[in-house]
Amino acid sequence: MSVSIKELTLSFGDVEVLKRLDLEIERGEFLVLLGSSGCGKSTLLNCIAGLLDITDGQIFINGRNVTWEQPKDRGIGMVFQSYALYPQMTVEGNLSFGLKNARVPKDEIARRIARAAEILHMGPLLKRKPAQLSGGQRQRVAIGRALVRDVDVFLFDEPLSNLDAKLRAELRVEIKRLHQQLENTTMIYVTHDQIEAMTLADRIAIMRAGSIQQLAEPHTIYNRPVNKYVAGFIGSPSINLIDGTIEMNGVPSFVAGRTRIGIERYAFSGNGPKPGGATFGIRPEHIFLGRAAAEEPFTAEVDVEVIEPMGADTLVWSKLDGHELRFRVDGQVPIRTGERVPIGFDPARASIFDAETEMRL
């Protein structure tokens, strides 16, 4: 285990920000903490870094109990959203500040800076001040500052949120490449951007109100969300959720108004289907149109209400028996507002949640 968190609790006064949280992170793993703002993900990262004093619980890094240790002694490097470069120092000064504090010998400092500069392609920038750098370069320096510390655990606190879309995509790949290059380096990455989470993570921990909702590989999170919140949070455009009931006369089926969807092939977790209230979730990209629709187990006809062409594909808004239904079609398919089109999907790819507990059935 590289980082392990045991029953971590943090409260500010009466407010419990983190609630008895357990988390085990493997050596060399890329873990993304994902959640909307205020869910406690950055707080958790600050606790791991030692920048916040925790109320209860334990934190181990590389098998060592660091619960009471200072941030500098925990063997971590941290990258912040606002870069947090020291404005009065050159890039070189920024990189060496931590090493000088740790009284690392001069030639060793030079060696590490040279290595970081090579990995992050910032050799020509070393003599500049942060103000003379672009946003992408600044964040690269900030990553470099974590890199020279020669640590096993990297903490990223929304490092790309201040960058524009194009740079963000570039740096995202760079971070992934860096992780592949640095074997055995654990990375914990906080973001609210699901694309970053899906593309970077070995595992994603989806957080809500101070606790982890689901901790799994991106594929599992996307295809088998454990509850309605996770299903709605992951995926853009977000999943279609239809409220209805499960009926069990002969074969199990999901009924919402006059629509009846056969769910005999749906892989129920636990004890199989039970009659009762439920929410049926189907992702927009799992709904097919036209001829492809006819081959799917469930078919219907819907009116096209609004279309949003996005180039590569087009998002179509329609209603299935009064329930909002979004689906995604290829951008080249001719489709017009007001048209009546056949659609179809496979209920086996859906996610069904209990109406009361909101947990996956």
Binding site: A49, F80, Q88, F97, R149
Partner: protein, 313 residues
């Protein structure tokens, strides 16, 4: 132009187009003498005159000899410029006790101002830094009490302070006065520094902690280099405030160590025969010179510092 004529014959639509082309285009023209400008600059001019006239009278009077002053033309420039009054004000003017002019007061004021300014700013910046970044238990209570201190009238504390100074044996000495200035500057300066340090990005502080810098390391290597503007503001507030102070100076020191302001008062108020207006004016200008120079020298930094403290955050 033939084209335009051809277009005109082409019909109503083309007519409308040419009319559009002839209409307003580009930057709106501005007249130099508009009613708005006259009002604006007129007001500015009147106010400047209102503020500068007394200064003008003082300078002019201080450069005149007494016979010329007796003529009574307050606003007229000196016919014969003389620096006699300035020399006299600096070195010879008499108070009730001695006759060595303002020079004695000047050096007293320097001895009071320099340590008071350095001490109060050093302590207040540390206070502000600790309050903003190292949130210790009871920090809010401490801060509230400190700020409350800014609202208590000085008069209330005058006498208790006398007793305290007497008990610790500093009453009447310059170091006693330095102590008083340092203490009374604390609330407002701490507030100033705390707010400035709070406005600096918190992540910078966190990054420095991860990099292993401690309380002093972060203060000296990260915070100080970023805080020049606010230090200039504090410097100006303290230099002018302490230099111009009269009340504490007269209460907590003895005549031989009176600051310049008290000395000035004594010179102006001591009546021995004729009232030497020119010497009084020169003495006043000399006393005001230090804050004036501070303002001129640091005006730009001062404005920038105030803006930096106020806008960012």
């Amino acid at each position: 132009m033939a084209d335009v004529a051809a277009l005109n014959t082409a019909g109503v639509a083309a007519d409308a187009v040419s009319k559009d082309l002839a209409g307003p285009r580009g930057a709106r023209p501005r007249r130099a003498i508009s009613r708005r400008n006259v009002f604006l600059y007129g007001t500015l001019f009147v106010i400047s005159v209102y503020y500068l006239l007394p200064l003008y009278v003082m300078i002019v009077t201080s450069l005149k000899g007494m016979p010329e002053i007796r003529l009574g033309n307050v606003f007229s420039p000196p016919m014969e410029i003389t620096f006699e009054p300035w020399v006299k004000a600096w070195a010879e003017a008499c108070t009730g006790l001695n006759c060595d002019g303002l020079s004695r007061g000047f050096w007293n004021s320097v001895q009071i101002t320099v340590p008071s300014v350095i001490l109060s700013i050093a302590i207040a910046s540390l206070n502000g830094y600790a309050l903003a970044n190292w949130r210790f238990k009871g920090a809010d209570v401490f801060f509230t009490i400190l700020i409350f201190g800014a609202f208590i009238p000085y008069q209330v504390m005058l006498y208790p302070m006398v007793i305290i100074l007497r008990e610790i044996g500093l009453y009447g000495s310059l170091s006693g006065l330095v102590l008083v200035h340092t203490i009374f500057g604390m609330p407002i300066l701490t507030l100033l520094f705390r707010n400035y340090f709070t406005s600096l990005p918190e992540e910078l502080f966190k990054a420095a902690r991860v990099d292993g810098a401690g309380f002093w390391g972060i203060y000296f290597k990260i915070m100080l280099p970023m805080s020049l503007p606010i230090f200039v503001v504090a410097l100006i507030i303290q230099i002018t405030g302490i230099w111009n102070d009269f009340l504490f100076g007269v209460v907590y020191t003895r005549p031989e160590s009176y600051p310049m302001t008290v000395q000035l008062n004594n010179i102006v108020n001591s009546v021995q025969g004729v009232k030497e207006y020119n010497v009084n004016m020169a003495a006043t200008l000399l006393t005001g010179l230090v804050p004036l120079i501070v303002y001129f020298a640091s005006g730009k930094l001062f404005v920038r510092g105030i803006a930096a403290g106020a806008v960012k955050g």
